[in-house]
């Protein structure tokens, strides 16, 4: 009996730690939450934008039933009569402070202020990052799983014409947008470090594909590598010292490892077909996409030997992936007809279990990227003529989409 009990306990622990099947059960009723704008005198259009931004962020937290109703109310007064029955009320106010902007936050639960904080920004164009920081703090106050990924910058390559794209610094909702590279075809940007102040990207406008490094603070640009045919930075190690590249110096796309300090290149795969999209996994292992079975699929390789193992057994054309420790999210074509409506979906697997969890339900879902903590997945969704960034909350099994107004998203990193 004891043995059975211990076995069940071990199984439960094992299952609970497997993100491919762990989805936090939604309670029957999430706490109701309303937002009140307490701004006295400020740019009214920004007031409304800020209200929409914070409401959107609070919905993405997935732990509240958030009201969309816009309510004005004084910061120090009781909650508005319309929100008397809400479990939680968030009050904010924007105020000018000698050219910079202060944003005040107050969380009220049961008529009692349980948290207050003030945020400062030097330029109003950064208001969305204050909304993200506020949502992060509100989430923390209520003890939910960390959402630090919300505050991170996102870098995208935005196609604006035939053979023309821009590298844009943005946030996960695509609200803040600042072009840092313009002119020509610039693709596959990646943040070089955790500070997110340097990026690498491929420029395809010259004679050969060229990998550039750009300091986004100073604007200083440096040419790193050139290769005939193909040169893409697929992944960068957590310490920012090494990169996995897809390169084709002889017309053959293979995986290479590049050290930013020593400038040394090491060829990792030697296959006459296609090897691309390498991702660092836990230990000394990489995941990558290859057509060595005659169609694109995801494989893994230990960097110390030549053994290659198939990782994915579900999906007909698995041409993109992202890895976080033992987890892998990949893109798969599920329909028989390559051009049918329900074409590409994202799936999550773990190297420690056989479960496959489908993360998206319809449309063309592409370019998955795990957050640094592995709790969320960002992806590109293209539907009809609309390009959007999607965020998947793995713990809550919820997806949120943020459309791009102009252009098409080619690739991104965060």
């Amino acid at each position: 009996m004891k043995v059975i009990f211990i076995s069940i306990l071990f199984s439960l622990v094992a299952l609970a730690s497997d993100a491919t099947i762990e989805v936090i059960k939604q309670s029957q009723r999430m706490p109701s939450l309303a937002v009140e704008d307490s701004t006295d005198s400020y740019d009214k259009s920004l007031n409304k934008k800020f209200f929409k931004a914070i409401v959107s962020d609070l919905k993405v937290l997935s732990i509240f039933n958030v009201s969309n109703t816009y309510v004005k109310n004084d910061f120090d007064d009781d909650v508005d009569v319309i929100n008397m029955k809400k479990d939680i009320v968030i009050k904010y106010s924007l105020e000018d402070n000698d050219g910079s902007t202060n944003v005040n936050l107050k969380i009220i639960r049961g008529k009692k202020a349980i948290f207050q904080k003030r945020y400062k920004i030097n330029r109003t164009s950064l208001y969305i990052f204050v909304a993200h920081s506020m949502a992060y703090d509100i989430n923390k106050v209520f003890g939910s799983n960390d959402v630090a990924w919300m505050k991170r910058k996102v870098v995208i390559s935005r196609l604006v014409g035939r053979g023309e794209s821009e590298i844009v610094l943005t946030d996960y909702t695509l609200t803040y947008q600042h072009v840092v590279v313009r002119g020509g075809l610039n693709v596959f940007p990646k943040f070089l470090n955790n500070k997110q102040n340097e990026i690498v990207y491929t420029n395809l406008s010259g004679l050969r594909p060229t990998l550039f490094k750009l300091d986004t603070l100073s604007g200083k640009s440096q040419k790193l590598l050139t290769s005939d045919g193909l040169l893409i930075c697929s992944d960068i190690s957590d310490d920012g010292k090494e990169a996995l590249l897809s390169m084709a110096p002889n017309g053959q796309s293979d995986i290479y490892k590049y050290n930013f300090d020593t400038k040394k290149l090491k060829r990792i795969t030697k296959y006459k077909g296609i090897d691309v999209n390498a991702q660092f996994m836990d230990g000394n292992t990489i995941a990558f996409v290859s057509n060595r079975l005659g169609y694109p699929n995801v494989f893994q390789k230990n960097l110390d030997n030549n053994e290659v193992d198939q990782m994915v057994y579900y999906g007909k054309s698995n041409s993109a992936c992202s890895a976080h420790n033992e987890y892998l999210v990949y893109k798969a074509r599920e329909s028989k007809n390559a051009f049918s409506a329900n074409t590409f979906n994202l799936h999550l697997i773990s190297t420690k279990s056989d479960f496959v969890r489908r993360l998206t339900a319809s449309g063309v879902n592409d370019f998955p990227r795990f957050s640094k903590d592995g709790r969320a997945v960002l992806f590109i969704k293209n539907y009809k003529n609309q390009s959007a960034i999607g965020v998947i909350r793995l713990e809550y099994n919820k997806n949120y989409l943020f459309p791009l107004n102009i252009g098409k998203i080619q690739s991104m990193d965060w």
Binding site: Y119, P209, S253, K331
Partner: protein, 188 residues
């Protein structure tokens, strides 16, 4: 003694005040103990996105000579045919052989003094690296065909644009098939 005491008190006061300032974010005393003033780190460092930093593409100065060359190259380029491919394939189809050999004739004839840039392209079904590699495979298939027709490998460079350089943007099979192609460009 009094002077020493005064000096010591002043130093302690300075240390306490400076210590508080360094360890804690600015406190808004008017708002009660639990009200903090914070400048979010990511926002503060967002000067990354300062609006005046934009890296543009470098463009070289052009001379009259270069313009003449450009005209000649453009005229020849316009006469060269795209080579079309099937979905997820990089084998040159029999139906494309006439187009290819017409290009070979040009490359070995009027365009014999120019470098050749072979550009691989794909349809919109995927913005991932695999699509770029597929475009490169198509370019490489054309390069191999040129080499067998006595075009020197040293004259040829390749690039893949993946799905980033479509000639057609409609959501139809016919349109997608136009984007699965290899283009020929000439370089001085």
């Amino acid at each position: 003694m009094n002077k020493t005491l005064l000096l010591a008190s002043t130093l302690v006061a300075i240390l306490i005040l400076s210590g508080c300032g360094a360890a804690e974010p600015t406190i808004d005393d008017t708002a009660g103990d639990d009200k903090k003033t914070e400048v979010p780190t990511d926002v503060q460092t967002e000067s990354v996105g300062s609006d005046d930093i934009v890296v543009g593409e470098e463009t070289g100065a052009s001379s009259d000579n270069a313009k003449t060359n450009d005209t000649s190259m453009s005229a020849l380029e316009n006469k060269m045919n795209p080579i079309y491919f099937d979905y997820d394939k990089f084998k040159i189809k029999t139906s494309q052989e006439d187009s290819l050999y017409s290009n070979v004739k040009m490359v070995n004839g009027d365009a014999k003094n120019f470098m050749i840039k072979i550009e691989g392209n794909c349809d919109e079904w995927g913005s991932d690296e695999y699509n770029y590699a597929l475009g490169l495979k198509r370019a490489n298939a054309v390069k191999s065909a040129l080499i067998t027709q006595n075009v020197k490998a040293g004259r040829i460079t390749m690039v893949s644009y993946g799905e980033s350089s479509p000639v057609c943007n409609d959501k139809t099979q016919k349109c997608w098939s136009k984007n699965r192609r290899v283009d020929f460009k000439l370089l001085p």
